[in-house]
């Protein structure tokens, strides 16, 4: 989920907290009262009558689309993940891959992955259906996945993200304006994404990739029904066509009232797991976080985020739940611009950043101070490898002196959005970095200009971060490779040594060997970092106590448990 740019949600006038424009899907441990594990056999004993099984939530921003191949933002994923199934899902607690539409997770041992790692054979569960009762077959997955390579559909979202499949790079290089574009894309991929029969899928990769199966968790690889897409045309995924979309997940959309709400009801034809307990979910669009909180208190919605400033006052309220995000927040720096092109300077700034103070003062306890770029639950992530970046004023001064022995440190700019929390962040950083002799100029501007400024080497910094798209390390470490410059590598970080290690780890199937390589990668990065990680967001929500079965996960998007809405129920 990378940088969540919540469109329209710009910190606004109403100065609400969401400065750090990006979302995270998180992994990790969580404590949450009253949860049952997903797919627990049998309905809960305190299930209220069916007519009461209704829930209203806030998805915080209006989706641009709810087309699985068009999805890009987390608030869109909240809807899409509950209406369309993908081959795999992730375990809410461990983030490990689990079977969803597929029968099993493929491994070299069970034959799902060929010995050279280039061919994947995946069997679907039997009896999968569409919401209209018709059978869901492998051909539907083939159609959906190839559709994801049509940049006219997916260009604003995850189009171009999955490159391991054979023919993908060629398909992505085709001209989307061409009259034969769709046919050409199909031609490029028809031998690599194949429906062997109604329940068997085959993928052929261009190169071995350990992380590849995780891509089949992303909504862009969801199966979609071709006749439905053709019938709805441009309206597929838009408000006009939302009520007629034929879905495959625990819910089906019945209505999208533009700018107001999206209504989902239970899909009785959902067969991949137990049918949802909730009969109806109303997802309202309330962009003002303070007002969303007020709406919760007024009883209009059943759960919402707790604004950071409010948190200290409600910390002990049993309705409040907190969960670590699966991802980290950092300040990306432009590796080509002085002083950031000096690695000792970057290390020095890391050491000059008092993360505890930020977590306490700026975020009121809704952030955990953290200095490693990877979430501690991520495979092979070892935060202690980055301990040289921890706050230490003496070391910081020494590093800065090493970087600029003559003391002529260039000024640094912190670009940010103009809301109270962003300003508090940069103002605090400004005073902290002043302690080591670095002068910071603060510039507030709008979202688009922020991006443009970093891209054009004008600002040199951007407060952002990375929310994991899936639970494999490749998702994180690959964004710092040279390939990703122009895409997700915002800071122009370019290190051949790093790239070599990153490539190697994605092709090493043996976990122990892979761990070793990842350790080397992390050591490389700790000695030559591309950013200043400052924390991990603690998703803090307040929930109506009648709502049970909340399977909270660091993978959650906009609201608690939003990936597992099928397991939530209203209690008596």
């Amino acid at each position: 989920m990378s940088f969540l740019k919540q469109r329209g949600y710009l910190l606004s006038v109403v100065a609400i907290g969401a400065v750090l424009a990006f979302a995270a899907c998180g992994g990790g441990n969580n404590e949450s009262a009253g949860t049952t594990s997903p797919g627990a056999s049998g309905a809960p004993s305190d299930l209220a009558p069916d007519s009461d099984q209704k829930m209203t939530m806030n998805i915080r921003a209006e989706p641009n689309t709810i087309d699985p191949q068009g999805q890009s933002y987390t608030y869109e994923a909240t809807v899409v993940k509950n209406t369309y199934i993908t081959l795999f899902d992730q375990d809410p607690k461990t983030t490990a891959l689990t079977a969803y539409a597929a029968q099993d997770v493929p491994t070299k041992d069970n034959g799902g992955i060929s010995s050279d790692g280039l061919t994947y054979t995946i069997k679907l569960r039997s009896g999968l259906k569409w919401s209209d009762g018709t059978p869901l077959t492998a051909a539907d997955f083939v159609y959906g996945i190839i559709r994801g390579y049509n940049l006219n559909v997916s260009g604003a979202g995850y189009g171009g993200f999955i490159t391991a499949i054979k023919g993908a790079k060629e398909a992505l290089a085709l001209d989307p304006k061409s009259a034969t574009y769709v046919a050409d894309v199909n031609a490029a991929l028809k031998d690599s994404i194949v429906a062997v029969d109604d329940t068997t899928l085959k993928f052929v990769l261009a190169n071995a990739s350990v992380s590849f199966p995780y891509n089949l968790f992303l909504p862009i690889t969801a199966a979609v029904k071709k006749s439905n897409v053709d019938a709805l045309g441009d309206s597929f995924g838009q408000a006009a066509g939302a009520g007629q979309m034929i879905t495959s997940g625990p819910f089906v959309v019945t209505e999208w009232a533009p700018k107001d709400h999206i209504t989902m009801v239970r899909n009785e034809n959902f067969t991949a797991r137990h049918t949802a307990y909730l009969k109806q979910i109303t997802a309202k669009v309330i962009e003002d976080r303070v007002q969303a909180y007020n709406a919760f208190q007024a009883g209009q919605i059943d759960l919402t985020e707790v604004p950071a400033t409010v948190y200290p006052g409600v910390k002990d309220d049993p309705r409040v739940h907190q969960e670590s995000e699966f991802g980290t927040r950092w300040i990306t720096v432009d590796a080509t611009l002085p002083p950031w092109n000096n690695k000792d300077f970057v290390i020095g700034i890391n050491q000059a950043t008092d993360r505890e103070a930020l977590a306490r003062d700026v975020f009121f306890g809704t952030y955990k101070a953290y200095f490693a770029p990877c979430a501690d639950t991520l495979f092979a992530c070892d935060p202690s490898l980055f301990s040289n970046l921890d706050f230490n004023l003496d070391k910081a001064k020494a590093s800065i002196v090493k970087a600029y022995p003559d003391g002529n440190i260039p000024d640094v700019t912190l670009d940010t959005l103009d809301d109270a929390t962003s300003k508090a962040t940069v103002t605090t950083l400004q005073s902290q970095w002043k302690q080591v002799g670095v002068n910071v100029k603060i510039v507030t501007t709008d979202q688009k200009t922020l991006r443009a400024d970093l891209k054009n080497h004008v600002s040199g910094t951007q407060i952002t971060g990375w929310g994991m798209d899936y639970g494999d390390p490749t998702d994180l470490w690959s964004i710092k490779t040279k390939d990703q410059i122009g895409a997700n590598n915002l800071g122009f970080y370019d290190r051949p040594g790093y790239d070599a290690l990153e490539n190697k780890q994605d092709t090493t199937y043996d976990p122990n060997q892979r761990k070793d390589i990842l350790t080397q990668l992390q050591q490389f990065y700790a000695a030559d970092p591309a950013d200043i990680t400052f924390g991990v967001k603690q998703r803090t929500d307040i929930v109506n106590p009648k709502l049970k079965g909340l399977v909270t996960s660091s993978l959650d998007y906009e609201i608690f448990g939003d990936q597992f809405l099928a397991d939530i129920y209203v209690s008596k």
Binding site: S2, F3, K5, R7, G8, L10, S12, V13, V14, N64, T65, D67, S72, Y73, L151, N152, S154, G155, A156, G157, Y158, G159, G160, F161, L172, P176, K177, D234, S235, F236, G237, Q238, A239, P258, K259, D260, K284, V285, I286, E287, D288, Q291, A292, N294, A295, Q297, A298, G299, Q300, D446, Q447, K448, T449, R451, A452, K455, G486, A487, N488, L490
Partner: protein
């Protein structure tokens, strides 16, 4: 008079054209576009594909030509953010709450604002006058969302009498309408109250008022037939644009109360560089303003028969 009205309506055409040129030019002169790096996963190829799809790779004057060609056919273009939905459809789906809110607020402004202003002028320097001054002070020094938070905290959170967010779902659902109307109208009402008062005082000292009183007319007749009617000119002048602003510029209130109107569309479109939406909302605004001014000008001559247009 009809000739005058027709001529004014014809003037709309060059005005709208001028606005399209200015807006188009400004839009493209501003840094940042709808499909930039960092929004979503997009690779360079994907972004280029999107730009090409919406003709954004062509020179600006070519784009302008396409735009006008579609505009005269009533097609406001595709939305760049909700790709697959046209701007026409978005406006059609969401115009009602905005217009309703605007008109209700205008009513509030007129009744509360004007009422308070008239009372304050008649009972000059009395307690009522000071209330009007106080009303104006609060209305002007408290941005409307702060007033909103206050009202919501009291009436929605604490008392539970009114909802915190949302808009009415039908003619009988009146509760959600109250707070947004008050919040949106608070500043203009304060303004109109003061303008009314000032204008009334100005008129009250005129000779013809003294004459009317000397004639022995009842005070009420004097007030309404002579004073208020003449004092209305500046109030009218302002109600036109105020109503237009209320109808088209309710961004903050719509955002705050999560009202599904198009008031938010303008600002969000600018932030997201959604060109067709920026053009459409700007043009809508232009037409509404021009019409409001026309109505006001016509009303001038109705209220003050000495003002004539040929």
């Amino acid at each position: 008079m009809t000739g005058y009205i027709v001529r004014r309506l014809l003037w709309l055409i060059p005005i709208v054209l001028a606005i399209t040129v200015i807006t188009f030019a400004l839009m493209h002169a501003v840094k940042g576009g709808p499909f930039d790096q960092g929004d979503g996963k997009s690779s360079v190829a994907a972004r280029e594909a999107l730009k090409a799809k919406y003709h954004l790779d062509k020179p600006v004057y070519v784009q302008y030509f396409y735009y006008v060609k579609n505009l005269v056919q009533g097609d406001l273009g595709p939305d760049l953010v909700n790709q697959g939905t046209s701007v026409n459809d978005i406006l059609k789906a969401n115009w009602k709450p905005t217009v309703a809110l605007g008109l209700l607020s205008a009513g509030y402004v007129l009744i509360v604002g004007m009422g308070l202003g008239i009372l304050a002028a008649i009972r000059r320097n009395s307690f009522l006058d000071y209330i009007s001054v106080g009303f104006a002070t609060i209305g002007a020094s408290t941005p409307n969302f702060v007033l909103g938070i206050l009202l919501v905290t009291v009436f929605a959170v604490e008392l539970g009498w009114l909802p915190a967010i949302g808009w009415s779902t039908g003619w009988t659902d009146w509760k959600p309408v109250i707070l947004p109307t008050i919040v949106l109208g608070s500043l203009p009402a304060a303004y109109i109250a003061r303008i009314t008062r000032a204008s009334m005082l100005e008129v009250m000292s005129q000779d013809y008022v003294r004459t009317a009183r000397a004639k022995g007319l009842r005070e009420q007749v004097v007030i309404f037939r002579h004073i208020v009617r003449n004092a209305m000119i500046p109030v009218l002048t302002l109600m036109g644009p105020i109503t237009a602003t209320l109808v088209t510029g309710s961004f903050v209130v719509e955002f705050f109360f999560a009202i599904p109107g198009i008031g938010r569309s303008y600002v969000q479109a600018i932030i997201g560089r959604d060109y067709p939406m920026i053009m459409a909302t700007t043009l809508l605004y232009a037409v509404v303003i021009a019409m409001a001014n026309l109505v006001v000008d016509v009303l001038y001559s109705v209220i003050d028969p000495r003002i004539k247009y040929s």
